[in-house]
């Protein structure tokens, strides 16, 4: 399956989601290709750190691609892997469109803030446009960096539900320091010790929803 983690707003946590999913897929025994299609190359940096700090290496393969090469290279490489995760930048770029043209699933994290949900119409339009060239694309939206309290999460969820182009996933990831701490160490949040149980549970719920995989092997910290 080819999963694109994207959107048209920066700072929604795309790279955090993409890298966590790649690590968790690898830990579940899948052969994984992580494609960094964002010019900031956060996923490449994360993988470099992971390769340097873990004796067993990152556990997956990571490549950086831009523009049309995302389409052509992923088409060529995807049959060699069980799962492909593509991290795109927070703009409507040729790279993101090239990823969408070859994707099975488009996963869009939205932070429950006005500037983020204001991009919802553009994302929905992009999905509709993509379906002209990739009719089987499944587009999923969920709330990332959810607030601990307040009505923003529910309000954002309601707005996501109103977009027929996107399927709302009733799983959200909280705004937790554990994600930043894990990323800084080249780890998925599930690998962080001491573990943040809430972060582990919620990212596990997202993972289970997307991939229908229950078993993730015990993950060792480097």
């Amino acid at each position: 399956m080819i999963t694109v983690v994207g959107g048209t707003k920066g700072g929604s946590g795309k790279s955090t989601v993409a890298t966590n999913l790649a690590v968790m897929l690898a830990a579940s025994g899948r052969d994984v290709l992580l494609v960094d299609a964002d010019d900031q190359e956060t996923s490449v940096d994360f993988t470099t750190l992971r390769n340097e700090t873990r004796p067993s290496g990152a556990g997956y393969t990571c490549v950086a691609l831009t523009g049309r090469a995302v389409f052509t290279e992923v088409q060529r490489l995807a049959p060699k892997y069980q799962e492909v995760v593509i991290d795109t930048g927070g703009r409507d770029t040729a790279s993101q469109r090239a990823a969408l043209a070859v994707a099975d699933v488009y996963l869009v994290p939205f932070a429950p803030r006005s500037f983020d949900v204001w991009t919802l119409d553009k994302v929905a339009e992009l999905v509709e446009e993509t379906r002209a060239v990739n009719p089987n694309l499944r587009a999923l939206a969920f709330i990332n960096r959810a607030e601990v309290r307040g009505s923003e999460n529910a309000e954002a969820a309601e707005l996501l539900r109103q977009k027929p182009a996107l399927e709302y996933i009733p799983v959200s990831l909280g705004s937790r320091k554990a994600y930043a701490h894990a990323a800084a160490a080249g780890l998925a949040v599930t690998e962080l010790r001491p573990q943040d149980p809430k972060a582990t549970d919620e990212v596990g719920a997202l993972f289970g929803y997307l991939f229908d995989i229950k078993k993730i092997s015990k993950l060792k910290t480097a």
Partner: protein
């Protein structure tokens, strides 16, 4: 059931359609690396054409074809690390 209707196969989008779709996306911001502008340039001369050919074969055989400059810089870096270790 002995009879089923003819399965519908999704018509593959043609290349022009995909190119047009991709082309509507913005480009990545132009690199503003100061070091790229001030990078020291040291032309390489390949007197041994076989060496250059081998380099090209190795560069093209990777999963992703790296720019020649990047490939050579990586090779230099790897040698320096090996020699230091």
């Amino acid at each position: 059931m002995a009879l089923t209707s003819k399965p519908h196969k999704a018509a593959p989008a043609n290349v022009q359609q995909i190119d047009a779709f991709i082309g509507k996306g913005g480009s990545a911001p132009a690199p503003t690396h100061v070091d790229a502008l001030t990078a020291k340039v040291h032309p390489l001369r390949f007197h041994d054409t076989d060496l250059f050919d081998r380099l090209e074969v190795a560069r093209r055989s990777g999963g992703v074809k790296l720019p020649r400059n990047t490939w050579i810089l990586q090779a230099i870096s790897e040698k320096l690390e090996r020699d230091a270790g």
